[in-house]
């Protein structure tokens, strides 16, 4: 029988016993209901000549934006204590001497964060049901956004787990994780803008422009705002993000079958995996690089005492 990740299993037990989780969830739902209700009221006020389903899609995407915002700030706060909290509680050593690989430990911690997001999504179901009642939003839209939110939360969570392995204090890990996420929005845009400006000023050839384009797309795809717009794009049938990036680069980037949200999800998953790997390496009590000549001293005492 395949075993559930023990860290995830334990964290789930602790999570569902924590009253703060339920209080937080209630506040989140109240805000979500307030936002949804406000938008629906506005739609009703503006619907003189019947009901426009596109407005409902607007309301639905606003809810998605709100959820993304919550994930962006709640997940680092929740996850940045994942390892540093164990260290502060003096339970980390116990975990490190077990047979669990450090990658499994950080993966278990990340899974707990994702589970919190799943809990948020499930708890939001009744609010979504109201939106579905009006029509204009398909189940496919809902599933697509749910998958996106889970991958996004894994990405944000992996940042927090990574910093949690670096900083001994949870407060420091939380602060740096939040700053990093904010920096992603500003930093990636700034970096991409700088590349574009340099390309324009220097007047690079087509090959250099293409390479610059790929780097810009990779950077921009990590930007939470761009990722949100790319997801909206695909559901509204527009192509704002592609046009935006292509326009900035003054060249037409057109890769068949590849949309920005594809790149966004691929980049998120790739960076999540890399951050988890880095966190696992950070967590190793004895780094492999520090290992002593492994090919010698195999046997010290032939009689094994």
């Amino acid at each position: 029988m395949k075993m559930l990740n023990p860290v995830f299993r334990k964290d789930m037990r602790v999570l569902f016993r924590n009253i703060k989780v339920y209080i937080g969830l209630t506040i989140y739902l109240l805000i979500l209901v307030f936002i949804t209700n406000s938008i629906l009221k506005m739609i009703n006020l503006n619907s003189y000549n019947g009901f426009n389903p596109e407005y409902v899609m607007g309301a639905y995407l606003t809810m998605l934006g709100f959820q993304m915002l919550v994930i962006t700030f709640v997940i680092p706060a929740f996850t940045s204590s994942s390892i540093s909290g164990e260290r502060e509680r003096q339970t980390l050593d116990f975990m490190l001497i077990t047979r669990m690989k450090t990658f499994d430990i950080v993966l278990g911690k990340l899974m707990s964060s994702i589970m919190l997001v799943c809990l948020m999504i499930v708890a939001s179901m009744p609010v979504y049901a109201v939106i579905f009642y009006y029509g204009g939003v398909s189940v496919i839209n809902f599933l697509f956004n749910t998958v996106f939110l889970i991958i996004y939360s894994a990405f944000i969570g992996s940042i927090a787990v990574f910093f949690s392995t670096i900083f001994k204090k949870t407060a420091a890990a939380t602060a740096v994780s939040n700053l990093f996420v904010i920096g992603l929005s500003i930093g990636t845009a700034t970096a991409a803008g700088t590349i574009i400006t340099v390309c324009s000023l220097v007047g690079v050839n087509d090959i250099a422009r293409s390479i610059a384009g790929i780097i810009c797309v990779a950077l921009i795809s990590l930007n939470p705002v761009v990722s949100f717009v790319s997801v909206i794009d695909t559901q509204l049938g527009s192509d704002l993000t592609w046009e935006f990036i292509g326009g900035l680069l003054d060249s037409s980037i057109d890769i068949p079958f590849l949309q920005v949200w594809h790149i966004v999800l691929i980049m998120y998953m790739l960076v999540t995996f890399l951050l988890l790997k880095a966190a696992a390496i950070n967590l190793r009590p004895i780094k492999k690089s520090g290992r002593k000549n492994k090919n010698i001293r195999k046997t010290a005492d032939p009689e094994n005492n």
Binding site: R9, R13, R89, D93, L96, R291, D301, N305
Partner: protein, 311 residues
């Protein structure tokens, strides 16, 4: 079973462990004694694979643990001096979590957990939250946790620290019980008498170096230049004193009311020789015993009377 050769660990310019050698035979209880800051915890953390040594090696059954960390994790159970617990878990859930970290199948866990809780006398607290346990109970729970994967070697760093006298006695009882389970136990303390009665071997460490090792008696004989012996004869006390005066390495002969005491520089065979001579000379002996040395004094003598809190 466990062997350490030339272990070195430095923290910047400070050398915490300085070429430490140690050997523990299978099934023994090895007391690791030294003042605060002597290097006990550092050595134990290296043994448990939590710290990288700057030099030397740790071998288990002849295999260098740095070459096979999986083997190390399976064979070693470790209980640190300071530890935390998950207060939101019940006792059995806490144990179940650690059983999971050693990939023990679900169906085997209940029996293992029940057995271990019985050993540490916490069966009645199985469904209680860990937070509600007393300090002594938490220590015993931690001990049970370190046994969850049935390790061959148990490394216990000051397991009785911070416990009240009653909890210390309870912990001692548990450790005695463990010694019957064929576990090799390495236990540290900065109080020598605390370990003396339960350990088969003792190593005294100071400034990261092994000062002395062996059984308690051996260590005492190494350090005590003079052993004090008391003989209680039925009669012929004067003849006894005369005979003792002729014996080699005997001094400070004192005529007490009911017995004669003397100091002796030598090993056990020398003492046996004295007793044989006394009896063969026709002096009836009621008792012949070595007066127990003060372990605290010996410890202070060995470690230079220091208590290096800052190290």
């Amino acid at each position: 079973m466990l062997k350490i050769e030339g272990l070195v660990k430095r923290y910047g310019k400070f050398t915490a462990v300085d070429g430490l050698d140690l050997e523990v035979s299978r099934g023994s209880i090895y007391g690791f004694v030294g003042p605060n800051g002597a290097g006990k915890t550092t050595t134990m953390k290296i043994m448990a694979g939590l710290l990288r040594a700057d030099g030397g090696s740790v071998y288990i059954d002849g295999i260098d643990v740095s070459a096979d960390t999986d083997m190390l994790k399976q064979k070693i159970g470790y209980m640190p001096d300071f530890f935390g617990v998950y207060t939101d878990l019940r006792v059995d859930e806490y144990m179940d979590f650690y059983a999971g970290t050693y990939y023990i199948p679900y169906e085997e866990r209940r029996e293992i957990i029940d057995n271990l809780l019985e050993i540490v006398d916490l069966s009645h607290k199985k469904k209680d939250y860990v937070d509600s346990l007393s300090r002594g109970m938490k220590q015993r729970l931690c001990l049970a946790r370190s046994l969850i994967h049935d390790p061959e070697i148990l490394i216990l760093d000051e397991p009785a620290s911070g416990l009240d006298p009653r909890a210390r006695i309870e912990m001692k009882e548990v450790l005695k019980q463990l010694s019957t389970l064929d576990k090799t136990i390495v236990i540290s303390s900065h109080i020598l008498p605390e370990l003396a009665e339960m350990c088969t071997e003792i190593g005294i460490i100071n400034h990261g170096k092994m000062i002395d090792s062996g059984s308690v008696t051996e260590i005492m004989s190494h350090i005590s230049k003079e052993r004090v012996v008391e003989i209680k004869p039925v009669d012929k006390k004067a003849e006894l004193i005369t005979l003792l005066e002729q014996m080699p390495n005997v001094g400070n002969i004192t005529d007490n009311t009911f017995y004669v005491s003397f100091s002796y520089r030598g090993d056990d065979s020398g003492l046996s020789y004295i007793l044989t001579n006394v009896v063969s000379e026709g002096i009836p002996v009621l008792s012949f015993h070595e007066k127990e040395g003060n372990l605290e004094d010996i410890f202070m003598q060995l470690t230079g009377g220091e208590d290096n809190e800052n190290a």
